[in-house]
Every structure is written in structure tokens, then in C-alpha cells.
Subunit: 98 residues, 5 copies
């Protein structure tokens, strides 16, 4: 999984039938030190994430292992909202203080 | 999924039997800020996209989760045509104004 | 899928049993503008491609969706030989004139 | 598989139901010469790894081939803790001396 | 598949149960011109490869399509030992002369 920040939403009326009702989040990947990278990805949301949340997303066939993405043409899913993470003794991110 | 712009079409008469009738779109990936990247990918079309459309495509086994790509040697599919997207308060792309 | 040029062949006598008889093509990836990239990949051939052909190849599990690659340890397959492609009004490649 | 060092843990209370109880490790990829790369990945732990351990992780659908990750939206798993590795005659890493 | 040189072995006593007995080879990827790249990967061996061999490896779910890797948390497998390869008229590698 990779860490990312939800930076926006993507609206698409015309889409594969099985995706009707899906919410597409625009994510910007964040590295382990908490810094933005240049990588963006669009993911379906399985946990009720919203703009500003720092999340984990899974890619590939693993992205289809949730109820809402099962057997759908979706290759990235937000499967967790991060509370915090640490590298050694240093707290890199803390949602309660963000 | 990634955001891309449909920039052309690829014609291939000789192809795996199961792909006869498939339309191959040439996509150029666009980043979250709406800028062209150097990455090109060829995708099958599941939503009737055409040149100039800004789309979402899914890769890998997820690309086979549509009726037309099911069990075919196809690793990228256009599964949505984007109407618009925003990053924070800023509208990056709006099809109706493009 | 990605566009590539067949630049050579790879000979391997000792290989997984299920791959006996397979032909391995060395591909050099070409970008949407028709320029060689630095990326090489070795693919199995499902369409009778030969040196000099410009082709499409599929990767990952999608590479196993042909008769000759089914359930084999093969992660890239040439599934089409390109006749031509265009970017906007410009013909980038035309096999008949290559 | 890739070699990585466990550099921290990621806490996420809200996550896909099937992931409740999962431990998320933050990994920093290490190259074959034992040097840190800029790549971070978050993986589920299948072997009881902890901070400071140098490990192997598997990605994609292969990450779901353990009891704890089976059919879960998880695309990376730590499946081995490295004791040592060598490049030619040179021992690059030795856990007992680390 | 990618071309790589076997540069070493990785020892890991503690690993997912299904991997007991597996041999992990450290590979350094080689490009189509026969030059070392900066990419290292660890793969399971399905063909009896050893240090110094130049091999092909398959990644992702395709890496599980051998008897020894079936349903295992393994995402890369050496599935062929290369005898030789050519780019156009030029022989890049010849095992018998290496």
C-alpha cells in the first residue's frame, strides 16, 4: 500500500456500468517522511475518506477485494484512513494535530 | 486509475483472435494538476471515448473487468470519461469549458 | 498495452517445462511520438511477430489470456502487430512506409 | 520480491472491515548493495517482523497468498525476515552483526 | 519478462510457512544492450539457476505459474536461463563465451 493525501474528487458521468455510484478520489502520494511526491492516482473510496484525509490505498487486483469494488474495473481503492505514523521515535503524522 | 487524454488511435489488423473488433486508443497520461506527462499507454475503450476526451483508465487484471475486455489479453481499459475534477477549491478541468 | 519495436530474440534452452517451444522476443518500448525509450522487455509472441515489427504487448496476468500463454509463467505477450497510429492529424507510424 | 528495512508503523483505526486487526509496517526499500532507496511502501506483516528488521516483501496478488491476507484489500506483505545476503563473495548484510 | 544476472543469494530462516525450502536469488536487472541497471529484485528459482547465470524472470501473478511457486506469496520467479540473445545482427550475450 502507499500513503497518500486526498486532494480532490473526479466527476465522471459516463463510465462503465458497474461503476455507477462510485466516488473517485484524487490522491497525491506522500512518502514515508510525510512529503508530497509528484505521483497522483485516482482511487475508489471504501472507507468514507474525504478531502484532506491522509490514507492508505491498495492497487491492482487487491483493489477489488472490497464489497464495493468486487469484480469492477477499478485498480486502486482507499482501504484505510491513517491516524498516525512514526519512523523510529519520530511521529511523522498525527491526524489529531493536523 | 490514472487520468489521461485520448491523443490518437492505433490500428492493428493482425492481433490475438479474441481482440478482433477492439478499438485501441492512444492515451497520454495527465497529472493531477492537469499537465501532460511523458507517459503514453494504449487502452481498449469501454465507454465510447474519442480523441480529445479526458478519461480514466484502469490497468492490470482490473482492465479485464468489463464486458468487452473479459478474459482478453488487454491490460488497460478506458472505463470513464471525465467531466471535471478539482484540487481543493480549484477546478483543474471542466469538459464543458474545454 | 505499450508500443514496442521487436529488436531481437532471446534463446533459452533451460526453462520452466510449460514454456518449452515458446519464442521469446526482445522488445524495445517506443513512446507515443514514435521514439525509442530506454525500456526493454522480453515477451512471448502470440501473433507471429518478427524483428522490425512494431507491436503492442500486454503485461501481467493479461499476458496469460492467450492460448499459448494460458497458465504459464509469462508476464508479457505480443498480442498485436501495429499497422499505423496517429496523434491528432499526424501519422506517427505507417508500416507500409516503414 | 524486494528487500526493505522496517522503519516504522502506520496506525489506522478506520479501515476496510476485513483488515481489522492487521498491523501495517512502513518499509523503506533497500537495494542489492544494502543502501536505502527513496521508495517507501506500507505492508501487512505475515512473519512477526518489527522495527529494524530487514525483510522481503511481495507485492500485488502474491501479497494475498498468506493466511492473514487471503482475499483482503492488501497489495504488499512481509513474507520473510532476512538473515543475510551476499553479492558474489561479499556479505552485504548479516543480521547477527547488525 | 526481464533479463537479469544472478548476483547472489538471500538467506531467510523466518518466512511464510509455504515458502520453507525456497531458494531466494538476488538478481540485478540487465538491459537489452547487456548493461547492468540499478534495479535489483529477489526471485524464487524454478530452473536451477546459480550465481553468474543470466536469466529471465517473470513478475506478479505470472510468477506463481510454476509448480514450486503455486499459491505462494512470491511475486518473481526465474523461469529460464538465457543461452544467448541478439539485437539485430549483433550478438549481445553468449553463455558459451561468457
Amino acid at each position: 500500500m502507499f500513503i497518500a493525501r486526498v486532494v480532490g474528487t473526479v466527476v465522471a458521468t459516463r463510465k462503465a456500468e458497474s461503476l455507477v455510484g462510485h466516488k473517485f478520489l484524487l490522491l497525491r502520494q506522500v512518502n514515508g517522511e510525510g512529503k508530497d511526491t509528484a505521483n497522483y492516482v485516482v482511487a475508489t473510496d471504501a472507507v468514507g475518506a474525504g478531502e484532506g484525509d491522509v490514507v492508505l490505498y491498495a492497487s491492482g487486483s487487491s483493489a477489488r477485494q472490497t464489497q464495493i469494488t468486487h469484480e469492477k474495473p477499478c485498480d486502486a481503492v482507499v482501504m484505510a484512513i491513517i491516524d498516525s505514523w512514526e519512523v523510529g521515535p519520530k511521529r511523522i503524522y498525527d491526524k489529531s494535530k493536523a
